[in-house]
């Protein structure tokens, strides 16, 4: 009370003086605060740039592949010795001989068995399948000869891309002087070139880095995501609508709410264990199948979607609800015709972010057998499949040098998908969001 009287003695001046004395300090504090913010953003950007640079720097070379143009004689005696044109027999023919003959015809002076083996090793063993596919595509080739571009082995590829240093002493690199001489000779003849690596986008996994591709993992991810979306979106939205619009506020709904928030924070491996116990052991669903992966990821994304949907339902102003009810709409009409459409952009954003998280997840899939080496492209929800992040993990763990660039390239593909999904979320929000 006594202070009040002291201040009230000269009220105007005292306050102004106080403000004037403090103003410089307050401006300085604000500037500091802004600088802290800028530093935080800048360092985040620098780290992101470093990450992208390291990934792109390592991975861009995986999009091209060294290939060799081989002369191939599609000899009837090799492809179809019985002359039956039976496709099953032709599938088992010794196509390896065709590419080996091809490369040897380019170096006729290599005669010793040992040297020939090394020479054959320049060409990827996948060449035989490529020749087979060419024959199956166009059977009129049989009996003729032609030229075909086939992939070079991973060591040749690494040398051409400069990832194996040819100046090292011979004992310290995986490519011998003799092989380098052959490679240089092929290059001089225009028979060796780096071409676009379409196999990387169309093949399944392989132990041969030059044949390994991400298509199997992309299809697996796609199938898994379809299951996840088809289950978690309707379930999540229905849960949110019920809790937000219909449920009474009592102890039970409080418990449910706490549990949903809790679920969102559970480590994802726990969902994998749950999936193993429930879907595989109890329901007897197949191991490694996208349907199980989708179910497990549904459990993981549900809380995210429910929370996002509830928040966006909450942000629809009560006046809309009251107006609808006042005009005679039933509660369900109010929800489906008015509230839900207005909340949809927010719900979709939450869903996309939840799906993005599910797309990058490996831990829960480990327990249900989706961390596996799978060559065949999955054809349905029950076929064994793997997903993109798992493919990255498997390649990162391989000994061959050529898998390093492929790992980074696969990360680039995964990041592209994530960026597209997040951009879609931002776009949807910007386009449809209403501000009240």
């Amino acid at each position: 009370m006594s202070e009040m009287t002291a201040v009230s003695g000269t009220p105007g001046r005292r306050t102004r003086d106080l403000v004037a004395a403090g103003i410089g300090r307050r401006y300085r504090a604000e500037r500091r605060f802004r600088i802290f913010g800028l530093v935080a953003i800048a360092s985040a950007l620098v780290f992101m740039a470093l990450l992208f640079m390291s990934i792109i720097g390592k991975g861009y070379s995986a999009f091209v592949q060294t290939e060799i143009r081989l002369p191939v004689a599609y000899a009837v005696s090799v492809i179809d010795p019985d002359g039956t044109r039976n496709l099953d027999d032709m599938r088992r023919a010794n196509y390896g001989k065709l590419y080996r003959d091809g490369i040897q015809s380019l170096f006729p002076d290599v005669t010793s068995r040992q040297d020939r083996r090394v020479l054959n090793g320049l060409v990827s063993s996948g060449a035989s399948f490529q020749i087979r596919d060419a024959v199956f595509e166009d059977q009129s080739l049989i009996g003729k000869s032609g030229e075909i571009w086939v992939p070079a082995s991973d060591d040749v590829d690494m040398l051409v891309k400069g990832k194996i240093d040819r100046n090292l002493p011979e004992s310290a690199r995986r490519v011998s002087d003799q092989e380098i001489a052959w490679i240089d000779a092929l290059e001089k003849d225009g028979r060796l070139a780096t071409r676009f690596n379409w196999r990387f986008f169309t093949n399944g996994d392989s132990r041969e880095p030059e044949l390994a591709g991400i298509w199997g993992a992309v299809v697996g991810s796609f199938l898994t995501m379809i299951v996840t979306l088809a289950l978690s979106f309707p379930l999540g939205v229905a849960t949110a609508v019920y809790l937000e619009e219909f449920a009474p506020k009592n102890r039970w709904t409080d418990i449910i709410e706490v549990n949903i928030n809790n679920l969102a924070a559970i480590p994802s491996i726990v969902f994998g264990l749950l999936g193993l116990a429930v879907f595989l052991q109890f329901f007897g669903l197949p191991r490694s199948a996208p349907v199980v992966g989708g179910l497990v990821l549904t459990l993981m994304t549900l809380p995210t979607i429910i929370i996002a949907a509830r928040v966006s339902l909450k942000s629809v102003p009560p006046s809309i609800r009251e107006a609808a009810l006042g005009l005679g709409a039933s509660k369900m009409q109010m929800v489906t015709n008015d509230v839900l459409p207005l909340a949809m952009p927010g719900i979709l954003t939450g869903t996309i972010i939840g799906m993005g998280r599910a797309l990058g997840e490996t831990a829960p899939l480990l327990m249900i057998g989706m961390v596996a080496f799978i060559v065949d492209i999955p054809g349905g929800f029950h076929d064994p499949a793997t997903v993109l992040p798992v493919q990255i993990y498997i390649w990162a763990d391989s000994a061959e040098r050529a898998f390093v660039e492929r790992t980074s390239a696969a990360i680039m593909v995964l990041l592209t998908f994530l960026i597209i999904m997040n951009a879609a979320a931002v776009f949807l929000r910007g386009k449809f969001e209403r501000r009240w």
């Binding site: 132990r207 596996a372 080496f373 065949d376 763990d397 000994a399």
Partner: protein, 344 residues
Amino acid sequence: MKRTLAVAALVTVAFAGAAEARDQIRIVGSSTVFPFASKVVEQFGKTTSFKTPVIESTGSGGGFKLFCAGVGVDHPDITNASRAIKKSEIETCAKNGVAKITEITIGYDGIVVADSKKGPEFNVSRKDLFLALAKTVPDPKGGDKLVPNPYKTWKDVNASLPANEIEVLGPPPTSGTRDAFTELVMDHGCEEFPFIKAMAKTDKKAFKAACQAIREDGAYIEAGENDTLIVNKLVENPKALGIFGYSFLDQNADKIKGAHIDGIAPTFENISSGKYPVSRPLFFYVKGEHVGVIPGIKEYVAEFTSEAAIGADGYLPQIGLIPLPADKMKSVKDAGKALTVNVK
């Protein structure tokens, strides 16, 4: 309504076909055998009309656990292992109805201790490795008692070694590589001390603890199961040593070099002749109950045991498998052909 229908349809799709028969081989097991088995699987899938088998890398122990869980389409047909099946695992198998098991040896794998090319040459004995890595060691001042490992540098362990600090990156206890390393290096190294060896008779538990416990004061760093990671760390830190399978040394010969152990270099020739002391056989196990039920098992085994795969000039030795000697190769091929039950 439409949405409800869609969900119902999806759930039906999900649960139908659960009881479907399987027409694809399923393989689990060791991460060491994984690169070799996956190569065979790929070859098998491309050259036969069977579907390509699916391999999961679960570790040897995890593989046996799944393999022995029972008979039927839900259980794997084959498990890979970097160690032989244990008695307790055979019993579990038998309890669950898996009685017809064929063991097939595919070759050898060397475990190497390597460092960066820029690092010093290492020529260690197994005793040195034991002294450098064990949790407790015989008192350096003499006397038959164990003290917590006091050694800080390799020179402390053995005056002929470089004065670098002891820093070893190796596999965690769950790994088969670690099991083999403990058995082949640590056990062997500690038996060179007569009083510890004597403990084996009097106090088995203390003997095991003395020989197999690895120090936890930061000198031994568990680097996970990812050997590529260890190789990269060695390149960055030329003073560190790493422990991993031979194939990683073979693939990265321009960056790292293997230490001589007991005077023997870890080369292809030395491992295959058995001279190099730290090598172990690799196996796979076939479930006899599934042969003839799941299509392709016989053919897959034939591909794996063929000359083209595990022979000296085969495609597996090219990626680092150490082939079997000729006499053993024949018995392996016979076992593969007949699928004789040889695990009891």
